[in-house]
Amino acid sequence: MANIIVNRELCNGCKVCFKACFIDIIKWDEKAKKPVIAYPDECVHCMYCELNCSQRAIKVSPDYQAYLFPRENIA
């Protein structure tokens, strides 16, 4: 699955990665004010969390081999 890494030192709790996720992969821990990568297996690596993070505190490394796609049923 996609590897989504959060640098908790750099993260300033602005919540933009949580807002930027368009399929609810990233949840928000209100207490810690940090993102929770709740569903990395469903990430489609749109990169919006990383693109929008002003602190460069989140990185997405896609894993296309594990991406859900009906490889045996294309034609």
Partner: protein
Amino acid sequence: MDATERVSTDVLVVGGSIAGLAAAITAKEQDPSLEVTVVEKYTSGYSGKANRGAGIMLILGEHTPEEFAQFYLQHIGLFLNNQTTLLKYASMLNSGADAIEKWSGKIDKDENGKYRSLKWASKVVGRREDGKPIFDQNVPYPWTLVAIDLDYIREVRKYARKRGVKFIDRVGVVDLLTEETVDGGAPAVVGAVGFDIDDGKRHVFAARAVVLACGNQCWRVMPMWSCARGEGIAAAFRAGAKFANCEYAPFYNWTSLDHFESHMGAEYALYNHKGENVGLPLIKEVHPDISAEVLVEWYKQVKAGNGPMHYREHENPLMPYLTSVLASTAVHNRPYADRFWGYLFFNAFSQATSDEVIPGLVGEFNPLWVDENMATTLPGLFAAGDICVGGSRAWGAVAQPGRHRGSGIAFATFSGRVAGPSAASYAGQVAPPETLPDGQIAESTERFQAPARCGGSLRHMQMVAEIQKVMQPLGNSLYRHEARMKAALARVEELQAMLPEVRAVDPHQLFAVNECRAMLLCSEMFFKASLERKETRGWFIREDYPELDPEGLRWIVVENKNGQVAVGRERVPLEEYPFKP
């Protein structure tokens, strides 16, 4: 326990991407006294597909709506169009770009302050001294394209907020609420039921008018289209709305199993394993974009044992154009879009290990029926954006994006700007609902929450995988045959019967099960409508019916009859339209 948030508003807009925002802003403009509320399952400003594409928007430029419509009818829509809506769309294209700019979206401009436009498939014929490309824009398409920076939806949301539009984020609408009308006709939409995607709290909305702008159905196959899971279509079906053009999906993009990035223009350089270019011979002189015929050829070659298929990118004549427009400053100044496309290209090109090319199902199932005012067949329910592209019948015999790239943002903006004022006018004429139907609210709640109590053994991603195995194959969904479609439909029905076994332990998973239900309903509508069209016409291709239906131009329509998918036909009223075949 009543963990319910109750919200009353005049106009409820479901979906906060560009179509919904366009509808909300224009509804408020039409009647500032109305309360307009946008409800969005994720976060408006970031959600949706319209900021994860090329950011290219189609306008007419110097061409006339009539010129556009005539070209479109002849070469793309093949007269299976609602010409009234097609002409309205065409006549609002240029002003659509102006609207986005007025709403604070940044459209790239030249040194004279004019939109920097570039026609699709323009050829690079030279380089300036600074290395920037010189284009020959002498292409046969009566439209052009402008470029928007992809942070525009965030800016448009801010604009809407300043003008009094209210926002509720992280609440997904799962059903519409209706009440019987005094004349005994179609029930009127008076609200909606939704749930918070984080804490699961129920939200019940009372509204005078509702605009559905929550996207279409893409079955979660291709990455950037993954958010389009058809819950709005399913909600409209359950409420009793009408649909058309279910069979004019799906769109496929050329892609790679190495990275799932799009290979636009691969049909020019599509080779079988014997080294024969099998795409080029099928490309007609006027080739506005990827055609279904070349996709079918891919299927035939693979079935004949001539695969795997290869894409020789260096032979694709579109590449100089594409690489000038995306992740590049060669033509446009769009820093946010450049970074976005830079990420995508880096990921794709760093992972590519072969030149094998496949068609990946994009989907774009979009059949909610609307008239030229973006009114559905249910009083009080309007639609905008991807959910009703096919149902508007504006584009005719073609899958979205309608063989004219840049049309996604263009149609969303157009339909939003029509739906907003339509909904506002309607809302101004009806009283707010006095009571909401408790029975419907309870039924919707039960349906949504049941997977938390079912104790089943299936996980939602297992169900998604099974659905994709039915929808992706070209033999089921593109190059169609009665026997294959009946088998696919039987599998869809099996999966529908398995839905009660899919468990959910949190709101994310409750939504996922609701999405699976919507995916399967859309699949059922798709195959039933496809079986009804016994011909080959434009994007719709049947192996067993390769000719045009001698009965002529018909729309296949779908309605909800006692909860069942009922299919019918309607004649295209050509005599009412200005252009004839």
